[in-house]
Symmetry: C2
Amino acid sequence: MSDKVDLLSWTCPVPLRHYPTIVMGHGAGGQMMADLIRHLFAPAFANEWLEQMGDATVLAALTGDRPDAQLAFTTDSFVVSPLFFPGGNIGELAVNGTVNDLAMRGARPLFLSAGFILEEGLPLETLGRIVQAMAEAARRAGVAIVAGDTKVVQKGHGDGIYINTSGIGLVQPGVKIGPSNARPGDVVLVSGTMGDHGIAVLSVREGLAFETTVQSDTAPLYSLVETMLAAGEVHCLRDATRGGLAAVLNELAVASHVGIEFEEQSVPLKPAVSAACEMLGLDPLYIANEGKLVAIVAAQSAEAILAAMRAHEYGREAAIIGRVTDTHAGLVIARTAIGGQRLVDLPAGELLPRIC
Amino acid sequence: MSDKVDLLSWTCPVPLRHYPTIVMGHGAGGQMMADLIRHLFAPAFANEWLEQMGDATVLAALTGDRPDAQLAFTTDSFVVSPLFFPGGNIGELAVNGTVNDLAMRGARPLFLSAGFILEEGLPLETLGRIVQAMAEAARRAGVAIVAGDTKVVQKGHGDGIYINTSGIGLVQPGVKIGPSNARPGDVVLVSGTMGDHGIAVLSVREGLAFETTVQSDTAPLYSLVETMLAAGEVHCLRDATRGGLAAVLNELAVASHVGIEFEEQSVPLKPAVSAACEMLGLDPLYIANEGKLVAIVAAQSAEAILAAMRAHEYGREAAIIGRVTDTHAGLVIARTAIGGQRLVDLPAGELLPRIC
């Protein structure tokens, strides 16, 4: 027992001392979450694989004699509220989210696990519909749900249902995608309109009525990635979930030690999302997506990759939005409509809680 | 959207109609949970891998040209209350639990993911101590935590912290262990005293004071399994968590279409656990363990495997408790101290909620 008692002491690292307890911002995909990962989780779990800090972790060791086929592994918990929203539900999100994390490493998603934390009192019919939606999403994404676990917590200790999915994928031969691979001169693309998912969830949560219903963009992105890889040289891929486009560009700029500049005007936005953001004082660059990716590609491949994306059902509104620079490393600059420039920071803490 | 709307209808299968909402028993490892898996999850997710219904799923496909080295994959969520208990805590449990699920398929645990659902207001120091405990448990078990996710839910929608761990292991060459491999004549062993974990958690939860403090038995069991595999022919392995020894024996009897008989007197019990169970009216056969396994082995290997187990730190009190029979297939019979027989059923619903 003595060693067990010893390890139960922990000293809070200085950068985390602003908040003695967990607040919503620690899960929002911004600076506070990055600090928690950097100063609490990463030092404790430190290992060569975790250092990749990608959407999924590539595990070379496991495929032994086959250096051309590596496994990718990822995990994601889903706590979205409400459970059903325009264009999707927590079950569909739980499958697509993990499928997309694998896809962002160029890995074909193969196997998922599903861990359920159910709150006492959840209607069985709600669970049944969510599980149906997961099964259907798995079929569309071409993955099999092969392992599961169910826990039940007392009423008042959950929120209907929380789902964790973990996934295993096979990195396609020759693919080298990673957050630190952006090079000055590379081109930045997005696969479609930004902010749809966040606004869709927000609209039902707050009982807001916009002129047009905004649908979540939840979608499995591996086939889009496959199309892009066939069309040219892709350096970085990231799905723009919590923290939105702004968080992704900041993470890539820091990981690759480069600057990123983009034209605000070039970022595709649905008019309804734009209107909702204006009304609510939100910046669409920070709103979550669940079926959109951000790509950084070699300049000479950009047009071919863009054309390939636009020919794909999940990339019809893809656009080139900016460039990687060798100045202001680690920083993201937006050029505004009237020719100004502004620094686009990592969001500090909470914007929209429980969006996924 | 139309297909999305269609799939959102779900008809409750007849065997699940007793309970229109989720109750604690659905997560207790007994008959109700088995029904939920059989009639809700399994039909929706149906695939050849899920049918294995083991502690972990063996994925032959992934290792291609190496039929001697297959991957195992598993997931487990941890919602234990309280978070710290005599002999362990939720973090240690989350690592050992998933490590053990892999070990029960004869797979060397290699990689874990960790998904955290944090409740607003959780002291950062509590999180820090739990993460330290996970890191230490991972080191002991020889696994690397290589992927993670953090979500935060509002106060009143969680219980401090829930942890999901998923794990990947490498099935050792030539190993063929599975719940359906028990054969008449085989011998049933347990690796040590039963019920320690459940009683340890219960004692702090209910503020019960027993004469002796019962410590949780949480431990990583792969090295014990390795020792057993080297000593003889192992047919089935299962860690006796939720539902205890009784649930495991029932699952193995059903999966292998055999009967199981055991001597109640032969089941190792700590006197303090025995006393606590008597006082509380609990049957120790149904109480959860977190560092104990049940093995079904070939008769000619039983003594050698028992000796190997007793020489291992996590098997010192291992014992032969019974036999597999070709009569009463699917049923488990205990022979009592006074020579009687009783049917040991799968527990119906809830015994001790939130034990892991």
